[in-house]
């Protein structure tokens, strides 16, 4: 260590070592930086233009896809709206049909008809006339006694043993009808009509108009045995 020449040689060797180590380090770093796959900075202009073209084409394709998917979405949305509207219409129709067929209770303005028959001379046919008159005057739902009157309700039997749709009824009869109250009142009391028939039999027919009336009797719908929808 005391020899100045040796010290100088050692210092020079250390310096050279440091420099070469730096060189090795720099080479490794540079090679590593250059081999990174996403390093666009080292690419030539032509390569960059090619990559740019590819990216543009890809962006165009993706934009096209977006437009297609948006169109599909619009179609599906509108068809969904259409089917929802159809469902709404169908359910309204079903509700109207249920009222007409008597499968659900109904409420609305109408009349309460009371018929007395002290001498029991009114036959099923006479009582059917009352219902027919109400129907003709636009009654939409009718309850005779405790029976909901519908398309296939039959009035059978002679005076004193009248059956409505199979259920025996006895006077005094009470008929509820929902519809135009004034019209039905007029129709029942028309000269020579059912009112006159009842009075001729010794009874009395009274009509009371109501602005709100509830028909609670319902009937179950028999499944059709012979007739089936023809599937137009």
């Amino acid at each position: 260590m005391g020899d100045p020449r040796l010290r100088r040689r050692l210092r020079a060797g250390a310096l050279i070592g440091v420099l070469t180590a730096l060189l090795g380090f720099a080479i490794a770093v540079q090679v590593h930086a250059n081999s990174s796959p996403d390093n666009l900075a080292n690419l030539r202009d032509e390569d960059l233009i090619g990559i740019l073209d590819n990216q543009n084409a890809r962006a165009d394709r993706l934009r096209q896809q977006i437009a297609d998917l948006q169109r599909t979405l619009r179609q599906l949305t509108t068809s969904g709206d259409r089917s929802a509207a159809a469902r709404r219409q169908a359910s309204q129709q079903a509700a109207a049909l249920a009222v007409l067929l008597g499968t659900v209770p109904a409420r609305g303005p109408g009349v309460i008809v009371s018929i007395t028959d002290p001498r029991t001379r009114l036959s099923g046919e006479d009582l059917l006339d009352v219902v027919e008159e109400l129907r003709g005057a636009g009654a939409e739902a009718i309850q005779f006694g405790g029976v909901r009157v519908s398309t296939d309700t039959a009035f059978t039997g002679a005076a004193g043993s009248v059956r409505v749709g199979g259920t025996p009824v006895s006077p005094p009869y009470r008929v509820l009808a929902i519809g135009g109250a004034k019209t039905m009142d007029t129709a029942l009391n028309i000269p020579g009509g059912v009112g006159a028939t009842v009075r001729a039999a010794g009874g009395e027919l009274r009509v009371a108009e109501r602005s709100a009336l509830t028909i609670s009797a319902v009937r179950t719908l028999p499944a059709p045995r012979y007739a089936h929808p023809s599937g137009s």
């Binding site: 070592g17 060189l23 090795g24 770093v29």
Partner: protein
């Protein structure tokens, strides 16, 4: 012997640490590496010729790196960085080839 080991050690450190090059150094590092390689080849040739001098090697190494980086820096400022980089690499490459040829002649006598 020491320089070869140091070079290897530097390579290993660089491979293990995997540092990212700071962006301001990015244009200069490749040129600096080529310039340093030129100095190293010159040193090897001088050693084989028996005229190696540590001081000369250190000065040539540092000045080579600094001048090469300066040229590239100047070229960047003048807007001809790419071309000047190419020029520096070509010149240094020719010198490296010349030194390598001299080393080859010394080693293999051919």
């Amino acid at each position: 012997m020491i320089p070869a080991l140091a070079l290897l050690a530097g390579l290993v450190i660089g491979l293990v640490l995997r540092p990212t090059v700071p962006s301001w150094l990015e244009p200069y590092l490749p040129i600096a590496v080529v310039a340093a390689l030129d100095a190293v080849f010159g040193g090897i040739r001088a050693r084989l010729d028996g005229v190696f001098d540590a001081k000369v090697f250190v000065v040539s190494f540092v000045s080579n790196v600094v001048v090469a980086a300066l040229i590239v820096f100047l070229g960047d400022k003048l807007g001809v960085g790419g071309q000047l980089s190419t020029a520096v690499v070509v010149v240094l490459g020719i010198r490296i080839f010349g030194n390598a040829a001299a080393i080859r002649r010394k080693l293999f006598r051919a």
